[in-house]
Amino acid sequence: MTSNDDQKSAKIAKYIDENLKQVFSDLERDELPDRITDLLSVLRAQDDAKKDEK
């Protein structure tokens, strides 16, 4: 009985984890917002400007 229960909960845990991975990878494909790419351009430009000063 216990072994069956263990199998069952292992199966449920596995099922949940597979779904979690799917949720996460769906979200990873979400496009980066413009404000983040804009921010990165500004930060890069600031770094370059600092390098030029030296």
């Binding site: 069956n4 292992a10 983040i36």
Partner: protein, 185 residues
């Protein structure tokens, strides 16, 4: 990966950071805010990042600390939530009777932040309980218990412990789970 400059490496973690922000906040506007703060903090504090350590863990930690401290400031436990999980459904669910992804996402959406976070870190992102505990500033046992409680809640919401439901998920899980001895009719 290790040959990349830290600031270049940061870029490679952005999709995962975005996924983490969305799953934690469940709100695009809040996720964008959290991500912007995190990128800015990480970029300007890159000298504090210890080379060779897990940058993804470092970034996730900055983001979640930001999230919880702003949640405290706003003094609200219940966040504004939009349908980010169902919005991002990119794979059509199978129609062979298995529980559908939309059901899972709706159930996942109902979990408390701490449980959702623990499940994402351990179940989806592959961090160990120890790593997740460090990232969340709690004991390993606390993370384990959050993961367990999250799983129990999902099991209840999706009725996964019904024998019938379990059989329905068999086809979906058997390929991954592999060799279970018992016969499944």
């Amino acid at each position: 990966m290790s040959t990349l400059e830290p600031k270049d490496e940061l870029l490679t973690h952005l999709p995962a950071l975005r996924a983490f922000a969305l799953s934690l906040t469940r709100n695009r506007a809040t996720a964008d805010d959290m991500m912007q703060d995190t990128v800015l903090k990480a970029w300007t504090n890159m000298d504090k990042y210890k080379a060779g350590t897990n940058m993804r863990a470092w970034l996730f930690t900055i983001l979640r600390n930001n999230f919880y401290s702003s949640r405290r400031k706003l003094n609200r436990e219940v966040a504004d939530v939009d349908n980010i999980f169902s919005d991002t459904l990119s794979v059509k669910p199978d129609h062979d009777g298995r529980l559908q992804m939309t059901d899972f996402k709706q159930a996942f959406d109902k979990l408390p932040d701490e449980q959702r976070e623990a499940l994402i870190l351990v179940g989806a992102s592959g961090f160990s309980y120890e790593e997740a505990g460090e990232m969340c500033g709690v004991a390993t046992g606390t993370i384990k218990s959050r993961v367990n409680r999250g799983r129990i809640k999902l099991t209840e919401l999706l009725r996964l412990d019904d024998d019938e439901a379990l059989e329905l998920t068999d086809r979906a899980t058997m390929a991954v789970v592999g060799n279970f001895g018992g016969p499944s009719k």
